[in-house]
Amino acid sequence: MKTTRLRHYLSAGTLAMLACAVLPPAVAEDGKAILNAKCMACHTPEGNDALSRISHQRKTPEGWLMSIARMQLMYGVKISDEDRRSVVKYLADRQGLAPSETDGMRYAMERRLNTVEKFDEPLNQMCARCHSGARVALQRRPLQEWERLVEFHLGRWPSLEYQMMSRDRDWLGLARNEVAPQLAKDYPLESQAWSDWQKSKPGADALPGQWSFSGHMMTRGDVRGVMSVTHDSGDTFNIEVKGQYADGTPFNGSGSAIVYNGYEWRGNLKIGDVRMHQVFAALNGEMKGRMFETEHDERGLDFSAARQDSPRLLAVQPAFIRAGNEAELTLVGSGLSGTPDLGAGVEVVKVLESTPQLLRVKVKAAADAAPGLRNVALGALKGVDLAVYTEVAEVKVVPAYSVARIGENGGTTPKVQGRFEAEAWGKGADGQPYRIGYLPAKWTVEPFNEQARDDEDVKFAGTMQRDGVFLPAGAGPNPQRRMMANNVGNLKVIAQLEEGGLQGEGQLIVTVQRWNSPPLP
């Protein structure tokens, strides 16, 4: 073991010295110059501005950031944050992914960490059992580069061959002969989508303007407002957000954003006193993605926005009404005008407020309105549903399965909270289930099974608050627990609707902290 470590010190140190001694410091140079200055010590020029390894891969901005960070952490590359940003920008623009190549995988960039992935074998067991499968699926490489990734894994973490689901098979043979070719086929360097996108990707002028937005913050409710985007320089922008939650609480702030590769929007802003990060795909007058707290990415909102010159109906808030009731609904979008058609049995009593971004109406659902979904229409604008219900047939806890983490207690990692909503489902006239929406509920936790009961997980793992937020307990060994175990737990999360009392259940794993937290899980 000591020999290995010594070798490591030498190689990392030597590389770092090489990088420092041979190459001049790059301060305000552009991405290409910094790339050459910082990387050419190891990556050899191949002609046509290409560098070995680097020029044969395509990735997301987060993927490139992780690659460069790995060069820092593993090989001692010295690079300032500013220079690293320039290199990420340079590479993500020229060697990124086409929008369609990120389909179904954006949850990893959006930090939706409670996503249960579904990858086919052998990728599930060979890749996604240690880190997310999306980390792989958001890269494009030719066969040789996938093979090198296999070799890199084994060289860097040799014990992976001894783990369960490795030692029972010829891991290396399988990785080389089956997995790498499959990856090269599924995620190739060259693709029609990428060459098409390079020809058609929009410039920075597609983004400034007024963006009407709609979102839902888990446990906090619907949000709406306007995000003003002004051009700063190059592909960077200034942003100002003016909005509010459904209960009227302000949702205001400002910050800046950068766009990679014509559509990958990344914003950093402060809403009130809270720092938040935006990961959106900005395409064709629409932005879609997730906005989350920088320090607590489990706290975030689904976000969609439409620019003022792109008429669109984004949402109706709330998107449900009980038959026989009157309620106030807000339509959010851009280019809104007129009176909405809310479908059979739902009548607009009065238009309370009308702007191009927002239409607030008082509506009444007839007592005999048939339960089910209606397509909302406002002139030619469509794409949003309104649910009418008479009774709730089923309650689902969202997320159905999730992971929270203990933290703090003097340690350096923050707690990762659980955040839950009770999703009501109805049964339509056709007997089919349909989603009503999130309804208020009382929240409790119970042991998930006998083992959790014996270990007193409910007592130790944390506290379920009234608002559906689970606050995990502190990190560290707990002398009060058997074997001084950590405050981990396997819990059943129970939602009981405030109205009607119907219950739903989910599972929450409260587990230990994580010290390796790159942007792609």
């Binding site: 992976l160 794993i509 390796n516 942007p519």
Partner: protein, 107 residues
């Protein structure tokens, strides 16, 4: 497994699962993106989908596992990449509070 006898309850449960052909079923269970359940034991979740069969408390044998890179996606591997990760926490029982995350902060 013929010549091995389980020494503790965890091993017994695993052996029973193996005897009942349930092993593939339990270990194949996927957790959420980026969590690992199948590194015997997993880091976040055990092979049975719970937490009772994790290393507990994880501080007890943390370096015995981080040194041979047992969960490199979750815990800094001390053999190849982060040999000094625990320099301010030589005893994990006492010093775990000094362990820090390793990805550069500028996201």
């Amino acid at each position: 497994m013929k010549h091995l006898k389980p020494l503790n309850n965890k091993a017994l449960i695993l052996e029973q699962a193996a005897a009942e052909d349930r092993l593939e079923e339990v270990v194949a269970m996927s957790s959420v993106a980026g969590c690992t359940a199948t590194t015997d034991p997993g880091w976040e979740v055990d092979v049975f989908g719970g937490v009772a069969s994790l290393c507990q408390p994880m501080e007890a044998d943390l370096y015995g596992c981080s040194d041979p890179c047992w969960w490199p996606a979750q815990v800094p591997d001390m053999m190849s990449t982060f040999p000094d990760w625990n320099k301010d926490a030589q005893s994990s029982d006492e010093g775990w509070r000094n362990l820090t995350t390793v990805f550069p902060n500028d996201k």
